[in-house]
């Protein structure tokens, strides 16, 4: 057992996967420069020493290197491609959405495209183009799996499953949860570290985890929002409100079994997300529960999300934009006390 932050845990897991399978390689910007940062958030720090020919440091060419990763994957390699900020995925959209997501299907299932795509998300004082929670954009995309590790333990287990699998996977990591150190440390960071067991373990996709048990309401959140939900649950316990917090861990596939089981107990559902409400993760979860399990509910489903606007820069506006613990608490009180 060793306690690690998410960045450190991912580094360890990627190194292990590269050591156990020589098809695995990393490709991205600033990932393998001696004296550099190991990607934007230190995940690949120093790895170029160990795997010099499998750390492909690219020019600023997101579309190009995502496409190159796709071509290499078609030839049986297992690329881990990363962008510095998830917003940059827009530059690579054609390769991701038209090639990486579709090639297995278009080939009639004859090809595999085993790519792992890593992307840091989250609103962190950088204005609107280094901020977006891109999970929402990829939810409707068919052909790519989406995972969101909120803890170092999950980051390791989900990354291993992604790398060892045969399908394209997007791993969204939160900038405030990395635990990046030194020059790449983030202000306002939340501790996402975990004890990482020595022995090999994986976390299957589509398996949610109940982070905190409760009876009065089920609250769903991923990444940073999951931690905020936990903080809200802690506060509300003092007021006698018992909150169950569910972390889906993977958005595609989504574990509705665990969620429905929880709602059957609490009869109330709230979804908390960091991106705008319109067509968001909450919209999808709420619609599915309304369609399939409305009988379990005793109260309207509540979505807590960012407002339908662009991510602002100035701290007062940014704090307003991101769902905060107090807002989550207030909304839960309103539902429970009604």
């Amino acid at each position: 057992m060793q306690k690690m932050g998410i960045a450190e845990a991912l580094r360890m897991a990627i190194r292990q996967e590269m050591a156990r399978d020589e098809r695995v390689f990393c490709i991205g910007e600033d990932i393998a420069i001696p004296g550099g940062w190991g990607g934007a958030f230190t995940v690949t720090l120093g790895m170029e020493k160990e795997f010099s020919h499998r750390m492909i440091n690219t020019p600023i060419s997101e579309a190009g290197f995502f496409g190159i990763a796709c071509g290499a994957a078609l030839m049986g390699m297992k690329p881990i491609a990363d962008v510095q900020y998830a917003d940059f995925l827009f530059c690579a959209m054609d390769q991701i959405c038209n090639n990486i997501a579709k090639l297995r299907y278009m080939s009639g299932g004859k090809l595999n495209v085993p790519i792992v795509m890593r992307a840091p998300v989250g609103v962190t004082g950088r204005g609107s183009q280094h901020a977006q929670n891109m999970e929402t954009f990829f939810m409707p995309l068919q052909g790519v799996k989406i995972v969101c590790p909120a803890t170092a333990y999950d980051a390791v287990g989900l990354l291993r499953t992604a790398v060892r699998g045969q399908d394209p996977v997007m791993i969204f990591e939160h900038k405030l949860l990395y635990g990046s150190k030194g020059a790449r440390a983030e202000s306002g960071a939340i501790d996402g570290s975990s004890e990482i067991p020595e022995e090999d373990f994986t976390i299957p996709f589509g398996q949610a985890v109940v982070r905190r048990c409760g009876d009065d309401i089920t609250v769903v959140g991923t990444l940073l929002m999951m931690h905020k939900c936990l903080q809200a649950a802690e506060q509300l316990q003092k007021e006698g409100i018992s909150v169950e917090v569910i972390d889906p861990r993977s958005l595609v596939p989504f574990d509705y079994v665990t969620l429905k089981k929880s709602i059957a107990k609490t009869s109330r559902l709230m979804i908390v997300e960091e991106s705008p409400k319109r067509s968001g993760i909450g919209a999808e979860i709420a619609a599915t529960i309304a369609e399939e399990a409305v009988d379990l509910l005793n109260a309207p489903i509540k979505r807590i999300a960012a407002p339908d606007t662009i991510v602002p820069f100035s701290p007062p506006m940014e704090n307003f934009y991101v769902p905060q613990v107090q807002r989550i608490c207030n909304e839960i009180r309103q539902i429970i006390l009604k």
């Binding site: 030839m75 054609d94 038209n98």
Partner: protein, 323 residues
Amino acid sequence: MTKEKYSKEFLLEIYQKMVLIRQFEERVKFLFLEGVMPGTIHQCQGQEATAVGVCTALKKDDIITSTHRPHGHAIAKGVSVQSMMDELFGKLTGCCKGKGGSMHLGDLEKGMIPAIAIVGGNLPLAAGAALAFKMREEKRIAVSFIGDGATNEGIFHETLNMAALWQLPVVFVIENNLYGASTHVNLTIRTDKISERASIYKIPGITIDGNDVLEVYEASKEVAERARNGQGPTLLELVTYRITGHSRRDPCLYQPAQERAEAKKNEPIGRFGKYLVDNLYASHQQLEEIENNIEKELDVVVEAAKSAAEPKPEDALSDMFAE
């Protein structure tokens, strides 16, 4: 060029492949206009020498990527004509089980990644395949067929820059047929030779007559060997002409009549046939026999494709994920 070094069998095989592509396309056009074939089609009549010339210079385990106009490349790389025709009919026995169609056909076992129908989108796939070959120290190369239009996409720059930077074993083949859909290349590119663009990446750029199949073959062989020997990528521009519509029922009103008439005189199969006869490699009768045999072969292929099994509607739900 010393063309005498070729054997008769080799030359007739090239001729046979070019005629197969032409007749396949003509047959498909007829079936499509007749209304029995679903979908849309982008055909390559007049561009047979580029596909055959390049692919003849490749090895079986070399890889090609193609475009929305992929039928010729597929045939030239050895994809089964039956599996292609089945795919065009949307049959379960098609090379992509009916999930690809005309614009995505391919067969990796024959060295063809399913075609990519977003202009330029196939470029990095070839570079990525080449990166895999280089990392694994395999003596294989990748070829990316693109049109003149793709050279104006941003992905062209990104891909060529990285391929040049890392000296990847890849060849970028531009089939310059003078038109991107209906827009003439002069309205989209300022240079006369697109291959000049290679110079900014410090890789060789070559422009040749894409309707001379042996010239295409010779040039391809040379640049393929460069790539295979670790000397990096080449931008090879093959000037050709599409003597059919861009797609479907396009009457090509944007192609001037005189230009079309000259292009028809310059089309590669007639030219190569004349070369074979003039140099006594074959008689007119022998060439006709080749054509007739292909006609018969295609009769069988079309009938088999028509009667092949349809996919079940719910087959639409399978094949997205491996796990």
